[in-house]
Subunit: 251 residues, 2 copies
Amino acid sequence: MTVRLDLSYDGTDFHGFARQKDVSTVQGALEAALATVLGPIETVVAGRTDAGVHARHQVVSFEAPEVDLARLQASLNRMLPASIAVHRVDRERDGFSARFDANRRTYRYFIDAARVPSPFSARYSWHTGHDLDVERMDESAAHLVGAHDFASFCRRAEGRSTEREVLAAGFSSDGNRLVFEVAGTAFCHQQIRSFVALLVEVGRGRRDPEATAEALAARDRAAAAGAAPPHGLFLWEIAYPAGLAEPPDLP
Amino acid sequence: MTVRLDLSYDGTDFHGFARQKDVSTVQGALEAALATVLGPIETVVAGRTDAGVHARHQVVSFEAPEVDLARLQASLNRMLPASIAVHRVDRERDGFSARFDANRRTYRYFIDAARVPSPFSARYSWHTGHDLDVERMDESAAHLVGAHDFASFCRRAEGRSTEREVLAAGFSSDGNRLVFEVAGTAFCHQQIRSFVALLVEVGRGRRDPEATAEALAARDRAAAAGAAPPHGLFLWEIAYPAGLAEPPDLP
């Protein structure tokens, strides 16, 4: 049967999602727990996340022998560390892929704009230490929407296309917290953290709001401004076409 | 001069507020940082917190040589770990005591009521794993308000009175999070965590809402239900009589 897991995790103590030898990863922890219940399992993930990046909503799929889904969920949550939570376990149609069927990925990046950073959001937001103009950042973010070649914002991967479609991008503020929300069909490696790094330069007044459009046109990594730190970034929500399961109640 | 610090801290990695030999405490970290700027300093605190308990708002006072307050704040925040934030440094009138002048202490205790606990609130809330009836807990909490002998809810301290005045106590829900807020002029050791432990028994339906009133009347530690874990508890706000500084912008 084809199984789908909807989960969230605190990425602080993981070397990213993807399985690696000798270091702790989310996929490694998940597959180790699955193995004790089901035997060896290879999981497919909707959105790989880098070291330190969090997921409020992540989706994983795999092929498995027939199993009681409620019991599988209880076993996984008992075995996994408190930093990983499995919110739901569903059976999907044969051939479902958490990665290839996903049609919209939403991320949020949080910035702590308080003068003195909060000890309670230190794990989950970036304290830039600068005054930021959120309207200016929002105006600049709008240039990123659409189908473009995002070469300036992608970590180079030989032979891979850097064309993507961004469906929505905007900055808002929520008290002392600034929130960048961006949605797309898919993203390349470091794309969102590269967006944030340049938008912070715009928010500080060191670049014009048109800097995002100029960087897009340049198709050159050097035209951007590096990458913002990983701990402010959350994979926020994965969406699938109608007919597949809706996301569960999430934190 | 008499100096007042308004601070917050994540208590996860501290053995409580109060200075102790050979273990990491908030007071120990703070006095070590103060010592490098001002020489040896003895601080007085508004509300001592136990190991693992957090403070959104804590106040500390001390006598010090004349010093530039803005610079002192910047130095402290540079030296202290990210888990402690100094939000403001003020000069108070001679003789001001963060402890003896405080006239209202407010605490909040957070319970994660989601079926599967959130990885993002694991440090800051108690996941009891039981369905809780918040209206029943709120009804039961009301019995705690007033001037009483709280012996049933206080960790015993030979020769010390256990009479206190609770000014307000109530449970509310905020999505999947239940919040117990309690205010008083002062509290004895473990009083709030003991309230919460009994109220959770009430919320689970194992005790009647009158259990709080009965426990009060018994004046016996065995009439309560132990203490809830520390990591759900926040010292939320310390208030002083009019004329003293208002609390700063807090997380």
